[in-house]
């Protein structure tokens, strides 16, 4: 009998007070695509980092192809034939593709000979697998899809037999995802072993042979993909039944609240990031923006929210023209009823070392209800946060606890509570459920729809296509800073959206597809 490609036994790892892996076992058969799923913080990335030698386990053992292997560093893992494609690519931006691939395997004191060898191997592999990559391109000039190919090639050139991919599809268009899956299946059929770490159930169903589920640091089960369903997997992940679909009634759009005309934004280098974007959002309507991340969605939100000054174009709120980024900064816009849940709550939405109560009043500290004059009334601040926590089911409901100690979902609820409760006319939401556990996703979706039903205008940006389609009443697709199409969610499908996300604009009428 062939020994399993990977056998991890009793893996245990603590980070201070956090018990990230509790006696985890994982067995992966050679020549298969194995899925590893779990919510944020379930310990799957930790487990894979241990397998790749990035962290050392506190206890447990690893056997590769039946041979006990002591993997303490990434060098050990590479020697054992393990390659990893990290979620955040591990590439040196100023280097060429060849330089990146040869790093750590230069083949001698001087780089010339190694570079030649790597180049020919790269060309050979990229032809064999249909992965088109220019070996001399500088990495900072490549698109995300290409970067991922470089990462995969990097592992293959170094002779990886076991390939770990951590959330590989987060940055890809649906078509690129399909291509990636074809590649992964092919690698498996050639006897390589693939582990794919993801939180997207649909992808697990599409590409894996077997799937292991983790919850709170423990391995809760490994099942054959063919014998399971997304609902069963979700239940394993969360520990209870969850509703995966979003229930909402038809929208009753009113007057136009937000009107954007020919909005352009240039970045610091002068590159056009937002290219003549026009859109409108009506009261009682959710307009979703779909697209692969980095195609101008962030710039759009930041320009409307007054954080970034557009280079040209007009924005108006309820018919009143705004000078976004000029006289209308986030503070004055807030007073006019425009609220913003930023895409990256860690960078813009919260201050992690602050107490929850302080994070929950960011940007509102001038308001009289938190105290008079120069002073804040601590009791009022705490009471306000406690009320928000009760309304949004934040756990633990402790306003004095540091923001960083809440889970991703609960942090997001704090931001949402802060922005929703002041009765906005227009709510901008970026990535409402990024890094949020399934249970909290359900809750957040319900609140967004309730807000719409209360007659508010909502502009939603998400790179999760399913989420945009489920929540929105109208969907706009962005690519390269432009809006490449508009669809009604129930009259489109993934292929249609995928083409628009890749920038292929066919003059398709709305009712088609």
């Amino acid at each position: 009998m062939i020994p399993p490609a990977i056998q991890m036994t009793g893996i245990d790892k603590r980070f201070g007070a956090v018990h990230a892996n509790r006696a985890v076992d994982l067995t992966v058969t050679k020549g298969t695509v194995h899925g590893l799923i779990g919510e944020n913080g379930a310990g799957k990335s930790t487990l894979m980092s241990i397998l790749y030698g990035f962290y050392a386990a506190d206890a447990g053992s690893i056997a590769i192809n039946g041979k006990p292997s002591l993997i303490r560093t990434s060098a050990d893992a590479i020697h054992s034939g393990i390659g990893m494609v990290h979620q955040h690519f591990m590439l040196v931006e100023t280097f060429t593709v060849v330089e990146n691939v040869m790093l750590g395997a230069e083949g001698g004191m001087f780089t010339a000979r190694g570079a030649a060898a790597v180049r020919s191997k790269l060309l050979e592999l990229s032809q064999a697998y249909g992965m088109d990559v220019d070996p001399d391109a500088v990495v900072s000039d490549l698109a995300v899809g290409e970067l991922q190919r470089v990462e995969i090639l990097k592992a293959l050139v170094k002779g990886a037999d076991i390939l770990i991919l951590d959330e590989p599809t987060a940055v890809l268009t649906p078509t690129e995802v399909d291509n990636l899956f074809v590649l992964l299946r092919r690698l498996a059929s050639e006897g390589k072993t693939v582990i794919i770490v993801t939180h997207k159930l649909k992808e697990i169903m599409a590409v894996t042979d077997r799937v292991s589920v983790m919850r709170r640091g423990e391995m809760v089960g490994t099942v054959e993909t063919a014998g399971t369903s997304p609902a069963d997997l979700a239940e394993l992940m969360v520990g209870r039944r969850v509703v995966l679909t979003v229930e909402k009634g038809p929208a009753r759009p009113g007057e136009v609240v937000l009107a954007v005309e020919d909005l352009c934004v240039r970045d610091a280098r002068g590159t056009l990031r937002l290219d003549h974007v026009s859109l409108s959002v009506k009261a009682g309507e959710i307009v979703g923006i779909a697209g692969v991340s980095g195609n101008g969605q962030s710039e759009l939100l930041e320009a409307i929210a007054g954080i970034r000054k557009p280079s040209s174009g007009r924005v108006s709120l309820k018919g009143e023209a705004l000078d976004c980024g000029g006289t209308d900064d986030p503070r004055t816009l807030r007073a006019k009823g425009l609220r913003h849940v930023p895409e990256d709550r860690h960078r813009m939405g919260l201050v992690k070392p602050f107490a929850a109560a302080e994070s929950a009043m960011l940007g509102c500290s001038d308001e009289e209800r938190f105290g008079k004059g120069l002073f804040l009334d601590r009791d009022l601040v705490m009471a306000d946060c406690a009320a928000k926590m009760a309304a949004f089911d934040v756990r633990p409901a402790d306003p004095g606890l540091r923001t960083a100690l809440f889970s991703g979902g609960n942090q997001q609820k704090i931001v949402l509570a802060r922005e929703i409760e002041r009765d906005p006319q227009l709510l901008l939401i970026g990535q409402p459920t990024r890094g949020v556990d399934i249970g909290a996703i359900e809750f957040i979706h319900k609140r967004i729809i309730a807000l719409r039903d209360a007659g508010k205008a909502i502009l939603l940006v998400s790179t999760e296509l399913d989420e945009v389609l489920a929540l929105s009443d109208r969907v706009l697709v962005m690519c390269g800073g432009k809006i490449t199409g508009e669809r009604l969610p129930d009259q489109t499908n993934e292929q249609d959206m995928g083409l628009l996300m890749a920038g292929v604009t066919s003059e398709q009428p709305k009712e088609a597809a």
């Binding site: 040196v92 280097f95 040869m102 790093l103 395997a105």
Partner: protein
């Protein structure tokens, strides 16, 4: 030969002499910062190197022993900087400033205690210094117009450290862009996580770069104390470490432009020495401080518009910590 030509030759000659310590320090900073460690302690390392060279050469009248002592002292300081900023992941700038303060105080106190000459080390005899080397045919070449004079005045007649510093420029280029160590060094200054996941040690690479910086600062210090001068004088680096940092930014962390930047700043220094006390028609005497401020002003002005953006290595100044997200 015209007098103007002679003056230019002398100015260039003196600019070369003045730019050599800048070049050593600048290349030292280049290795360190390309690997991601900000090195504001160039000044201090050069100073302790100069002191060690002066003190050693006064006891053992051999310049090579002086150089060795300078390198050892400077590397020791570099290791302290490395320990604070790599192993302990401290603030690299604070650690560098500490190095400077420590070197300044230590050299003054030790110098006074050991030699009783107000912080100086004893005047060195010629045998304890790096002397000027007259290249072959320098005197006979004077007969050849223009080139002969350039050869005799500018190219010939420097100490071995000057030629060493100049040779270091192409050598550094080769190391950085054509060797395994150079590739890894540049990678660790841009994205240490990529280096780590490639199975290489970020710590070892950064230490090796910091040690290299220590060695080169030792050379710079030795040049000041036992080649350019005949002994150590309190605070004899006089801000050269900082000018070298400015030159490094000016050169955008590249070895060949570093040579140009250091020479330019050396030239300004030479001009400052020459016009000291000279009265200009209509202006009067130019305060020497105004000239001394020129390298800094020039860096600011040129960076602000003329040479484009100087993008430092991406990870410079950031201690490497495996994050757990």
């Amino acid at each position: 030969m015209s007098e103007a030509f002679q003056i230019i030759l002398l100015a260039v000659d003196s600019a070369i002499r003045l730019s050599v310590p800048l070049l050593f320090a600048c290349l030292a900073g280049l290795y360190s910062e390309r690997a991601g460690v900000v090195d504001i302690g160039l000044e201090g390392k050069m100073l302790i190197g100069a002191f060690a060279a002066g003190a050693t050469a006064s006891l053992v009248p051999n310049p090579w022993m002086g150089l060795l002592a300078a390198v050892l002292a400077s590397v020791l300081f570099a290791l302290v900087h490395g320990f604070a900023s790599i192993t302990q992941r401290g603030n690299q700038i604070v650690a560098g400033v500490a190095i400077n303060v420590l070197a300044s105080g230590l050299t003054a106190i030790l110098g006074n205690a050991w030699f009783n000459q107000g912080g100086r080390t004893p005047q060195l005899p010629s045998g304890a210094r790096f002397n000027e080397i007259v290249l072959p045919f320098a005197e006979s070449a004077r007969a050849i117009p223009v080139f002969g004079a350039i050869y005799a005045e500018v190219i010939s007649g420097h100490s071995v450290l000057v030629y060493g510093a100049l040779a270091l420029v192409p050598l550094t280029w080769f190391i950085l862009y054509r060797t395994r160590w150079g590739l890894r060094l540049r990678a660790v200054g841009e994205n240490p996580a990529a280096v780590d996941t490639a199975g290489l040690s970020v710590t070892a690479l950064r230490y090796s770069a910091v040690i290299m910086a220590g060695i080169l600062c030792g050379f710079g210090g030795a040049y000041l104390a036992i080649a350019q001068s005949a002994g150590f004088i309190t605070d004899m680096t006089a801000g050269k470490g900082f000018i070298a940092l400015a030159a490094l930014i000016f050169a955008k962390w590249r070895p060949v432009p570093a040579l140009g930047a250091c020479f330019l700043f050396g030239l300004l220094d030479a001009v400052a020495l020459r016009i000291q006390g000279v009265s200009f028609p209509g202006i009067g005497q130019v305060p020497v401080q105004a000239i001394q401020a020129l390298p800094y002003l020039l860096t600011v002005v040129l960076l602000a518009g003329f040479i484009g953006k100087a993008t430092p290595p991406k990870a410079v100044g950031v201690p490497y910590l495996k994050d757990r997200s």
